[in-house]
Amino acid sequence: MDIDYILQLEDISKYFGSVIALNGVTLRLKRGEVHCLLGDNGAGKSTLIKTLAGVHLPDKGEYLVDGRPVRFQSPREALDLGIATVYQDLALVPLMSVARNFFMGREPRRKLLGSFHVMDHELAAGTAIEKLAEMGIKVRDASQVVGTMSGGERQCLAIARAIHFGARVLILDEPTAALGVKQSVNVLKLINRARAKGISVIFITHNVNYAYPVGDTFTLLNRGKSLGTFAKSAVAKDEVLDMMAGGAEMKELMADLEGVSI
């Protein structure tokens, strides 16, 4: 094996009853690259990253981390290997506070009276506020419940959490869906910064203007099958646009609106 892959899905299939969500998909993530996953709604992108994250066990095929086969029984095992995910539905609990959500499943602990392990609420609150501030979100009170936050703030919380725990691989499922341009650009900068630190990233987006600048590699999914993986050097931006959901229609529209180009 010449190329250094951190994650590999080899010929993966996943079924939900009669639905074939993934049908023999191969996806290889190089160490330190940003890999964009493109495809129409229902193509199976979320199912693919949930397989990577340990939510789903594949029905067929092999999943390798650092070249070694794994079978994650729960997302916890993926997190333990430094693989963190921003799910499309964000995986936040609205009734819980910002700090409790940030550390959900990975609560920091300290010892009380030298014997009991208790959750370190001070550390949790301080870290959550600090990491959100790095994303441009000001939260003064980490006991604020997530239900009170706006969609964009929640998305930033989920991203900040994944960046904090994603020591090696960061998986982002449409992380900019609820964000304005400025916050989206922040997320793109974060992706760049993660790559600079040697973290490998899988990035799902519907916006070619976001995918093209940060992506090193593009994989196109269609109806549960992979239509191939392309290096950035091998494709132009409008070829990437062609691959994306509604890309062809978008170009037609652009042609109609004369003089506009993307």
């Binding site: 604020q144 419940v145 964009g152 916050q183």
Partner: protein, 416 residues
């Protein structure tokens, strides 16, 4: 911990004059009006307190939106009502207080379990049947099979833990609502208690066999009598009687013998349950699985393990109730614990637990149980007909649910 902020926009006025939209470097906190939070309190360990979109919310309002608030104010109200209606009747003598606190303590023990389970997003309707069953499973081996009482106690606890695990396992594996699964055990366990005791003993109420009484057996067993029967602080009560502070018998001892151990258990469980929920990693897991089990699972919370553990804890609370009741009454009966599952759930709801899970308080549930005890026993001290007790219960439940719904809406907008 604090109340709802105003709708967006009502606190915008000062910001309009503030400088805004200055370009900022990456990583610097922004002042973007679309991003900063609509209502935040003034305390923060990290950021200096200069945010024009923050309202200071007082300690009182913070208390008002605690989950326990409803039950505390309910308890105060009930207390005042009985103080006025039955203040001179002996309800608030040492003996009277011990009397209703004991009733509250029994219910409180199962309410702690029911509240934790409800916060974890599940119900257990088999609590009451489990109480009857557990009592029988203690009495039959002790009376008929000659087991030492402490062994019979261990057997009872182990059996109930196993039944709780079965409840939880079925709920997790089938994905069925716990309401249905535990409703099945509501019937199975009640039926088993009656059928097994009839089959093995020919009776459904057990207090003695061949001249040996269950009470003597329990009191003769060091471990179980120390843990489950009798009172604590008897000396203190006698001294208080000696000083004339509380009523005394002819011999000089206090009329109220001491604090029954069931009350100690209740307080202990409340403190432990409240501590676990608020301060430990497991508490965070309970809130998470009740709030959104999928989100919890996806972030690495062991959802199945947490939920099954909660079912086991609830079953163990029912077993403890049964053992304490057998020690207290000196008998076991197959129909014990009737409707206790409803009372426990009502106490939890009065205590601020949301029926949908993810939010609530163990301390609140215990205060809910206290309200029960006060009303159930207190009515006897007044001239009010006892039957009004159930009417009151229903009304109390309705009020609590309406109040909780209102609070949840505020929580969704405010903070806790």
């Amino acid at each position: 911990m604090s109340a709802a902020g105003p709708p967006r926009g009502t606190n915008l006025a000062p910001r309009e004059t503030a400088p805004r939209r200055k370009p900022h470097a990456w990583g610097e906190p922004t002042n973007d009006p679309h991003i900063s939070n609509p209502a935040a309190s003034a305390e923060s360990p990290v950021v200096p307190p200069t945010d024009e979109r923050v309202r200071d919310i007082g300690a009182l309002r913070r208390f008002l939106s605690r989950p326990e608030f409803g039950s505390i104010s309910g308890a105060v109200l009930v207390f005042i009502v009985f103080l006025l209606a039955a203040g001179d009747s002996g309800m608030f003598s040492a003996e009277g207080i011990v009397n209703w606190a004991t009733v509250a303590a029994f219910l409180g023990i199962i309410s702690v379990g029911a509240a934790l389970l409800m916060i974890g997003g599940e119900f257990d309707l088999s609590i009451g049947s489990m109480i009857g069953f557990a009592g029988m499973m203690l009495a039959i081996p002790a009376l008929y099979w000659g087991w030492p009482v402490w062994v019979a106690c261990l057997f009872t606890f182990a059996l109930c833990a196993a039944l709780g695990a079965v409840n939880g396992y079925l709920v997790i594996r089938t994905g069925l609502p716990s309401f249905i699964v535990t409703l099945a055990f509501y019937f199975i366990l009640r039926g088993l208690s009656l059928a097994l005791s009839t089959m093995l003993t020919g009776k459904t109420i057990l207090s003695n066999y061949e001249g040996v009484s269950l009470r003597d057996l329990v009191n003769g067993d060091y471990l179980s009598s120390t843990l489950f029967s009798g009172h604590v602080l008897t000396g203190v009560f006698n001294a208080m009687a000696g000083w004339g502070w509380i009523a005394a018998r002819d011999g000089g001892e206090a009329l109220a013998v001491g604090i029954p151990k069931v009350i100690v258990w209740w307080l202990l469980l409340t403190v432990i349950g409240g501590f676990v929920l608020a301060r430990t990693r497991q508490g965070n897991w309970i809130l998470a699985v009740g709030g959104d089990a999928t989100a919890a699972k996806n972030t690495g919370v062991p959802v199945a393990r947490v939920k099954i553990s909660l079912f086991i804890v609830t079953a163990l609370c029912a077993a403890l109730f049964a053992v304490l009741q057998v020690a207290d009454a000196g008998s076991a009966a197959a129909d014990r614990g009737l409707q206790k599952e409803f009372e426990a759930i009502i106490a939890a709801v009065i205590g601020g637990c949301l029926l949908s899970g993810g939010y609530g308080s163990v301390v609140g549930a215990s205060i809910g149980a206290l309200i029960f005890g006060m009303v159930q026993i207190g009515i006897g001290y007044t001239s009010i007909d006892n039957n009004w007790y159930r009417v009151f219960l229903g009304a109390m439940l309705l009020a609590a649910v309406l109040f909780n719904t209102y609070i949840r809406k505020r929580v969704a907008l405010g903070r806790r």
